[in-house]
Symmetry: C2
Subunit: 151 residues, 2 copies
DNA sequence: ATTATTGTTGAAACTAAATTGCAATAGGAG
DNA sequence: CTCCTATTGCAATTTAGTTTCAACAATAAT
């Protein structure tokens, strides 16, 4: 842990771009939590810590951080994109409760099999897969049952 | 085929809402093609056929059509959401070329196994799954190789 | 070290997707 | 047919995300 910064630095250098304190602050903040994030939230977290990074910079840097494979888009909800950091996480997939928003991450080996099979079948060079499984978590189901809403 | 309209009508009635020609035009147009669609495209297709349905109506009705399980969001790209109709399609997953945008749809039985396993393991009531497999199609790979871009 | 080059920044203006307010219209129950 | 109110089109609004621009600063060249 902690060498996401080094990785991103070298990624930036290799591209002939410049390492700036703003970029470092953004990367650090992203990896300072294990949760998913969105731009607004990240911006507020940075502000709260006294950073003066602007939203424009966050928006400008996210595509770069994605290109460096440190984060990725996970879903678009409530009118904006949500991201997660993936360095050291492998291919994470999500089990999401549609009601309370709880997210459980998992990696499933069988998915790599499916991925491989599809690649061969359709002659694709696969880069990644994203599986989103959506439903009701046990808690929300209990509440709903208690309220007599659904079966 | 063709009874998506009937299904939607009864869905609307059951909710105590009203069946209008606009709603019918929208549903018909969505199901008149087998492709994915977005709001703008759908709007233009309708206009081209002489319909006077407004974009606001499309935006207002999409949540209802999703609730009726006739369509669903598939991905957010180029600044807007993309949808697909799912009635009669089962759970479709996508293999997408990141370069040319080609989409291959597939259903994989093993995913239902994974889904079931996850449901049991985490005590979730699963509603659906979405698998997006992303990579380069054979054509784009050939072009890239010819251009000497990537391996 | 100093300077020159040019990528990056914050702030504000802008663009486009999606939502909403409103007056007119029209389903559909009675 | 009549009434109630959901729905519509249009236009205004909101908001995520992008772009412009002048000031700044990271790096390379000197």
């Amino acid at each position: 842990m902690g060498n996401e910064i080094a990785l991103f630095r070298s990624f930036i250098s290799k591209k002939g771009l410049r390492n700036t304190p703003e970029r470092e602050e953004i990367i650090k903040e992203i990896f300072s939590s294990h949760d998913h994030f969105d731009v607004d939230e990240l911006y507020l977290r940075l502000r709260q810590k006294g950073s003066r990074v602007s939203k424009a910079s966050i928006y400008r840097n996210i595509p770069l951080i994605m290109e460096s494979c440190l984060i990725r888009e996970v879903w678009h909800e409530d009118g904006h994109m949500h991201y997660e950091h993936i360095y050291g996480h492998g291919h994470h997939c999500h089990l999401r409760c549609i009601q309370c928003g709880k997210v459980i991450e998992f990696v499933d080996q069988d998915l790599f099999e499916i991925e491989k099979r599809l690649g061969t079948k359709y002659d694709f060079e696969i880069l990644e897969h994203r599986l989103d499984v959506i439903g009701y978590c046990s808690e929300c189901r209990q509440h709903a049952a208690a309220a007599g809403d659904r079966s």
